[in-house]
């Protein structure tokens, strides 16, 4: 009981705008084989429980948990699917191990966004059917309104939001798993069409297909399996009220609360001093800035200015989204949080190739479930 929990294997497949050569099951299998090989485990013999994250509406199959066991090696074993982001899956696996009942648990998340022909209409089904959906707005309006209020309250500018796009898509050029790498200017970003003003289309992540599998283990099992376990020092999650009518439109309070939970477990009082780098949500560019403030790295209104000055570049004091984030790697739907976690694991292992950061020991992962949610999760990892 109460052992530490580590990530001992990671595997991923896809990370491309479309993956027409494989089914979602085959994409998951590709990622799973890599993760199990990385951890040195046989899923049929060693992995005791399996957690997947998936949203039925994204799959086009209701009760989607029925469709996960075989390609993960989980048939006739303890399996569950969570309708949440990948970090919720990671939190669930963490808790399963902390119960003392399981030593090795696998977590899976995937996106076959290219297969969803009517994604905006599907996303609209997240709006309240009686109160909001009859107004018939494209759900991106929630991001437009949130960005508007965030800029208003903090004095952050559109140019500072555009700086997030320039940084993350440039970072993606050094990441072979990021299909949206680009060398852009602020003007390139700002001159694009509007999506839901003040939010521009080029400040919004394109989608990608991909699957990510992680193997988690108890402290004892982890030390037997691998030389460099990546420890989960803290993990927290939080939802605000879903109400569009009464939520806080300027600040991501749910992320602040999720961070408080994770920091308290990890014993972190001063995040900027304690944490070496972060991978955070950037489905919309302004979210990265709002999130960095909610995480307590900066005060409200500071993130935009510091980003424009280069504070969050790979060479800066707090590298953020070195992977390229969702803007560079593509929005992987429910697997987005696992994609951010994957980069933190690779960096902490020293396996990030051309984009490897020097001397990193503690990394932060944050995810958001996208519009119209007020749903955030935070994990602190260390090597």
């Amino acid at each position: 009981m109460n052992q530490r929990v580590a990530i001992v294997g990671v595997g991923w497949a896809g990370f491309r705008p479309a993956t027409p050569e494989v089914s979602y099951k085959e994409l998951m299998y590709d990622a799973a084989v890599r993760a199990y090989t990385d951890a040195g485990v046989d899923p049929r013999r060693d992995v005791e429980s399996f957690v997947t994250v998936a949203e039925d509406f994204h799959e086009g199959t209701s009760i989607f948990d029925e469709y996960t066991p075989d390609q993960l090696g989980g048939a006739l074993k303890s399996v569950q699917t969570i309708t949440g982001d990948g970090l919720h899956g990671l939190a669930t696996a963490y808790m399963l191990i902390r119960t003392g009942q399981f030593d090795i648990v696998a977590v899976e998340g995937h996106s076959k966004a290219s297969n969803i022909l009517t994604l905006d209409e599907i996303t609209a089904y997240a709006q309240d059917p009686v109160l909001n959906r009859p107004l018939r707005f494209n759900t991106h309006f929630v991001a437009g309104m949130e960005m508007n209020r965030y800029l208003y309250e903090t004095g952050t500018t559109r140019e500072q939001c555009a700086a997030v796009v320039v940084k993350n898509r440039f970072n993606a050029l050094a990441n072979p798993s990021a299909p949206y790498g680009a060398d852009l200017t602020l003007q390139d970003v700002l001159s694009g069409p509007m999506l839901s003003a003040p939010l521009g289309l080029r400040e919004t992540a394109e989608h990608a297909d991909g699957a990510i599998v992680m193997v988690l283990a108890s402290e004892q099992a982890a030390q037997q399996l691998v030389d460099l376990p990546i420890w989960i020092e803290g993990i927290g999650w939080c939802n605000d009220s879903p109400s569009l009518e009464s939520r806080d439109w300027g600040q991501a309070i749910y992320t602040a609360q999720a961070a408080r939970m994770a920091y308290s477990q990890a014993g972190i009082n001063h995040p900027l001093q304690a944490i070496d780098f972060a991978e955070v949500d950037d489905i919309y560019a302004y979210k990265e800035l709002q999130t960095l403030e909610a995480l307590g790295f900066f005060r409200p209104g500071e993130a935009g200015e510091l980003t424009a000055e280069g504070f969050t570049t790979p060479e800066g004091d707090l590298p953020v989204n070195v992977s390229g984030g969702s803007l560079g790697c593509g929005h992987l739907l429910d697997a987005t949080g696992l994609a951010r976690a994957l980069e933190v694991v690779l960096q902490l292992r020293g396996e990030a190739g051309a984009r490897q950061l020097a001397d990193v020991e503690i990394g932060l992962v944050q995810s958001w479930r996208g519009v119209p949610t007020t749903n955030g999760a935070v994990a602190i990892l260390s090597n």
């Binding site: 089914s23 085959e26 969803i116």
Partner: protein
């Protein structure tokens, strides 16, 4: 239901209440369109159906054949990369007489969903064949259907096949 239902019978809703707009009623139609990539295994399966063949995948570790084929054996997690044509004859494993249609209409003559264990390829005859195909039975009186009945596929004409499970119309009894 409360024990005092006779004392307090309440007022039940009627179709008329909906028609007259007395009830809050939202009508919404889901526009969910998907183009699922069939991938290697199911893509091969559907392409073979168009040619009039039922493919299975073999695992030589577990001595099992499954249809439709897959890229991984669910029992041992080894890759399944050998696809072999099975015969289109087999034995009814289980069936049901279904008196309600897909769109919830009651019918007099039942539809007959069935799982049919196909006659497998000779190379794995020594092991258990898991090649059960989920389909339906036809050209048979419901009361005559039984577990263990031998059946054979009735295919659409070749020029009408489109690479779908409906390229097989149904399975019918093999006359002795």
């Amino acid at each position: 239901m409360t024990v005092k239902i006779k004392e307090f019978p309440g007022t039940s809703l009627s179709e008329k209440d909906f028609d007259e707009g007395k009830i809050l009623f939202n009508y919404d139609e889901l526009k969910g369109e998907f183009a699922w990539d069939t991938g290697i295994a199911i893509g091969s399966y559907l392409a073979a159906l168009k040619e009039g063949l039922i493919l299975g995948a073999a695992c030589y570790t577990c001595h099992k054949i499954v249809t439709p084929p897959r890229t991984v054996c669910e029992w041992c997690f080894d890759p399944m990369d050998e696809y072999i044509p099975l015969l289109d004859t087999g034995v009814v494993n289980t069936f049901s007489l279904c008196y309600v249609t897909w769109d919830v209409q009651r019918i007099e003559q039942p539809e007959i969903p069935a799982v049919i264990m196909l006659d497998g390829a000779s190379s794995l005859d020594s092991g258990p064949i898991m090649g059960g195909i989920m389909h339906k039975l036809g050209e048979v009186k419901p009361e005559k259907v039984h577990i263990g009945m031998r059946v054979k596929a009735v295919w659409k004409p070749a020029e009408e096949r489109e690479g779908s499970v409906t390229d097989i119309l149904y399975f019918k009894p093999i006359e002795n």
